[in-house]
């Protein structure tokens, strides 16, 4: 397969993936027991007639498939409908929430991947047992400590007992917690990969020439490990989504995660659908870009 075909395949796969996730979400939202009319009916005491009328107005009496087609054709034009609870266009609500999540996710990602790289390179360059221990520690931490538990601990210690940081809206604590979690997920594999790359003949040559450890690590070892680094940063993204959900709820950040959860509790499915669609499209997009880069830099894959 030549490179163009390989890239096209990656793009096509991304499109199909996004479509599948959106369809899955749509049907899961529709089979959920108790629709919004039931919820509003319980709260506001709508009569049976009013409920029927409301279902018709919302298109809920149509067959599922035609509801789906209608929704997709509107969504493609950027129209995700109106929130059933707040009577606002969903796209406006998304546009308000998206920057919050993006800023949070970008900062966490940069901190996490940066920390992982720094630790892995330093451990490789200096072959330090102490740094390897630290890497193991962060790895186990990320597996065993749920991020929201770390969040509660941080709130208790730094906000309530020490009074240093605000609970609401502050980005420092959630970014460090999610960044650490991200770093822990990837740092161990990165370290293993670099350990293997150090054994490569050209690295041994560089060492024989007497280059400094940092120079060898950055100029000779790192490029050899680039493909796996790409794949690993793709993995870190999944953690970022779940992390955004919990951290936004815990620290009251008005992002996509808070929006989605409030919508789930309120059965506000236009928002659930739109939010998951945005998340899915973003993830698939990034994964596809990573996939393409991967194919371009690793000739074994193309």
């Amino acid at each position: 397969m030549d490179r163009l075909a390989s890239v096209l395949f990656a793009v096509l796969r991304g499109l199909v993936q996004a479509a599948c996730i959106v369809a899955l979400t749509f049907f899961l939202c529709r089979v959920m027991p108790g629709d919004v009319v039931d919820v509003l009916g319980l709260e506001g005491g709508l009569t049976a007639d009013q409920q029927v009328e409301m279902r018709r107005a919302l298109g809920l009496d149509q067959p599922l498939l035609s509801q789906f087609v209608t929704w997709v054709s509107h969504a493609l034009q950027g129209d995700f409908g109106r929130s059933l609870r707040f009577d606002q266009p969903v796209s406006d609500m998304l546009a308000n929430a998206l920057p919050v999540t993006l800023r949070f996710a970008f900062l966490s990602f940069a901190f996490g991947v940066g920390l992982a790289l720094l630790l892995a390179i330093a451990a490789t360059a200096f072959r330090s047992r102490w740094l390897d221990g630290l890497i193991d520690g962060i790895n186990i931490w990320s597996i065993a400590v749920p991020t929201f538990c770390a969040g509660f601990a941080a709130i208790l210690i730094f906000s309530i007992w020490l009074g240093w940081l605000p609970v609401i809206g502050g980005l420092l604590m959630p970014v460090i917690i999610i960044g650490l979690d991200n770093a822990g997920q990837i740092v161990k594999s990165l370290r293993e990969e670099l350990k293997e790359a150090v054994m490569l003949p050209h690295v041994r040559t560089a060492r024989a020439k007497g280059l400094s450890p940092w120079r060898i690590a950055i100029a000779h070892v790192l490029p050899a490990a680039a493909p796996i680094m790409l794949a690993l940063s793709g993995l870190a993204l999944g953690g970022l989504v779940a992390g955004s959900l919990t951290m936004e709820v815990l620290f009251a950040l008005p992002g996509i995660g808070s929006l989605t959860l409030n919508a789930i509790h309120g059965r506000d499915y236009p928002i659930i659908l739109a939010a998951v669609t945005v998340i899915a499209v973003a993830l698939v997009l990034i994964n596809t870009v990573i996939d393409i880069l991967h194919r371009l830099i690793d000739p074994r894959l193309a």
């Binding site: 899961l28 027991p33 749920p146 538990c149 509660f152 796996i228 999944g238 779940a242 959860l261």
Partner: protein, 302 residues
């Protein structure tokens, strides 16, 4: 981890080693499991009864670990919580294996086409992080303990399916499989009688590694308000319930958080040790043969 590396050069042939960490982890898990089993003998109080005269109280003679915001006994909730936390996660892991390994191995044994179809299907939803998938499934299935278990199982099933595939392909090229096939052994026969016994170790190891992740995911879902029902208080749910009272009753959060972290940490340590012991191939050789293949371990749903 922090212990000085004294016994590094000790002979390994002396049989199974019991490092301090593994020993501590075993003890911790045993205590939690036992506490869950004999909970009614360790406390006279019910985990659900509310004492409205003792709300958010610290430890006392009646309530050894104090009470939460509804006056429920934290000690009793901790004990019964061990039962529900373990029970729900073990059930979720079991379902993940029934679906992931069962379906995966069946498709693998039947041949290339069924394998390609099943794994293409899994690939399509793979971009969705496990926590989000579980969240959406609960949206569709309704909340409560039953749907929670099913959602946990389904969201971890892809991971199991990938592990099953890696293990299957590792064995499928061995001579004994060729021999069995050339003696006209049917595909399912070869799978069940010849391959399965040789990959059981890898699968059991995987179960031990998934269990703590299942516990973490369950607690995250509880924290997000879509976890177990109120009458099945898991530790995650205890944390979630008390989260709004973190300032007035920090003990109501700190106690279940500590319990949860100790349990997941111990289970992770045990899982890693089990992997070293039962599945040494992967530990020594790694899975670096395929350039694009990442350890399926890493692709953990979060």
């Amino acid at each position: 981890m922090s212990a000085p590396p004294i016994a590094v050069s000790a002979p390994r042939s002396a049989g199974r080693r019991w490092p301090v960490g593994v020993l501590l982890a075993t003890v911790a898990v045993a205590i939690v499991a036992l506490a869950g089993l004999v909970a009614p003998w360790l406390t006279a109080n019910s985990p659900l009864d509310q004492d409205l005269l003792a709300i958010n109280k610290g430890p006392s003679a009646d309530y050894w670990l104090g009470t939460d915001h509804l006056g429920r006994d934290i000690w009793a909730r901790l004990l019964y919580g061990a039962r529900f936390t373990f029970g729900i996660s073990i059930a979720g892991t079991a379902i993940a294996f029934a679906i992931g390994a069962g379906l995966g191995l069946f498709a693998l044994a039947l041949g290339r086409w069924s394998e390609a179809t099943l794994y293409a299907g899994i690939d399509l939803i793979r971009a969705l992080p496990g926590t989000l998938l579980a969240l959406l499934l609960i949206v569709g299935l309704g909340s409560g303990t039953g749907p929670l278990i099913v959602a946990l199982g389904i969201s971890f099933a892809p991971l199991v399916a990938y592990v099953a595939r890696a293990a299957f392909h590792r064995e499928a090229v061995r001579d004994y499989v060729h021999a069995a096939t050339s003696f006209s052994g049917g595909r399912i026969h070869v799978l069940v009688r010849h391959i399965l016994p040789n990959i059981v170790g890898a699968l059991v190891t995987q179960a031990a590694i998934i269990l703590p992740r299942c516990i973490v995911t369950e607690s995250v879902l509880s924290f997000l308000g879509v976890g177990s029902s109120p009458d099945a208080p898991t530790w995650g749910r205890m944390i979630a319930d008390s989260s709004r009272f973190i300032e007035r009753a920090p003990h109501a959060i700190v106690i279940p958080v500590l319990a949860l972290v100790v349990l997941t940490l111990s289970l992770s340590v045990l899982g890693n040790d089990l992997r070293r012991w039962l599945d040494p191939v992967r530990e020594n050789a790694g899975e670096a043969a395929e350039p694009a293949e990442i350890d399926p371990q890493l692709a953990m749903p979060r």
